[in-house]
Amino acid sequence: MRVLTTQANNSDDLRFLMSRSLDGDLSADESARLELALAASADLRDERQEMVAVDRLVMEWGSHPVEIDWASHRTLIEARISCDAKAETDANRVDNLLADWVARGNIGEVDLRGRVLAQIRGANRVATPLRWVIRLGLPLAAAAAITIAVLLPNMKNSPMPVSTSIVTFVHSGRADSPFASDAVTMVLFERTLPPSPVTPSGGSMELIVVGSPPTDAPLDESAPL
């Protein structure tokens, strides 16, 4: 292997000219410049010889024709293209069928507004018991508290101890239930009685129902929550 040397006049520019000279691509000026450089440098002449040899090797390498069964190769390509064309035709037919179907107006009327309103009403229906509790239960509880506040001073004067509690029942409302309402607020007054012949152990409980919502009031679905 020969060691390549680089001299001042052996620049890439000159090598590029050498490469292009192999392809007959140089102008007259470029040819003259290259010939001048080659005449002055043995190394450059050697490089040119090597470049020519490389080019010859590559051309020889590529000079052998590739041989395959060309007819079969073409048949395979045409078969694939034919399949492609058929698939495209089928797709176009489907598109056309869909377009016709849409054009005939076969899509039924959809009452979207009605469906949405029905969904909203359904949501209201679920929320109604809670709404009743808030609307009636809380005022009734407040009323009960006021009642207690009024009654309690009088009860304090009573010789019997009194305990009071407020109970609110929330009920979903069955038609056959005695509590056919959504909420019942009750105030329980419990008095402890001294033992007597009638109640040897003593004690009794009084139940006062302070309030309840209307039992048969229709649900107002349109009312805001």
């Binding site: 292997m1 470049m51 490389v54 090797l57 590559v58 590739v66 190769h73």
Partner: protein, 202 residues
């Protein structure tokens, strides 16, 4: 040059344009004719990049099918040849990149008879092998194949299309989507590297 040759050389581009236009309108026969015209070069370019006739035939086949599907994207029918070779080159290079991880592909039955006598190392059945299939010739061929494999894609493609396939620099520039000057530079760079890689053969 006789009149017949002159007429052929003048009419060929025009005939090809007509075929492309017809194929673009869905005429499979017209595209079949385009396949017949460009088939050998497509397989040859793919082979020079892949070094294997089976892969080259597959890549060329895929390229033709892809070209048929994409014909509507070809703005100038007169540039069909360069456009097709660009598809072939890109597919072959992709094929090459993917081949490293792909299992050995069995040959299509259609090619089995042709491939039966192919060269073990490169998969190529060369016409010249019958005449000069000596060890020395085979070693030289393999050495050049190995050296070309080491070149960057653009340099290898430029050298193969220009020096081996004999395409004009302008057409190579079209295929590589670069300037003619860059084609010349890539060819020069490829030759320089081959000088180093093949120094023992020089």
């Amino acid at each position: 040059m006789d009149l017949g040759q002159l007429r052929t050389s003048v009419e060929t581009p025009s005939v090809e344009v007509q075929l492309v236009v017809r194929a673009r309108n869905g005429d499979a026969d017209a595209f079949g004719e385009l396949v017949r015209i460009h088939q050998r070069r497509a397989v040859s370019v793919a082979y020079r990049l892949l070094g294997n006739t089976s892969d080259a035939a597959d890549a060329a086949q895929d390229a033709f099918v892809r070209a048929f599907r994409s014909l509507s994207q070809l703005e100038d029918p007169a540039r069909f040849s360069g456009w097709l070779m660009r598809i072939v080159s890109n597919l072959a290079l992709n094929f090459r990149r993917g081949r490293a991880t792909r299992a050995t592909k069995s040959l299509d039955d259609e090619f089995a008879s042709v491939e039966s006598s192919r060269d073990v190392s490169t998969g190529l059945r060369l016409a010249g092998d019958q005449a000069d299939g000596t060890d020395a010739a085979r070693e030289t061929h393999d050495a050049i194949s190995g050296a070309l494999e080491k070149l960057p894609d653009k340099q290898r493609l430029a050298l193969i299309l220009f020096s081996v396939e004999g395409l004009p620099q302008k057409e190579v520039a079209d295929i590589l989507e670069c300037s003619v000057e860059l084609v010349k530079w890539n060819v020069f760079q490829a030759r320089q590297k081959l000088r180093e890689l093949l120094s023992e053969l020089l």
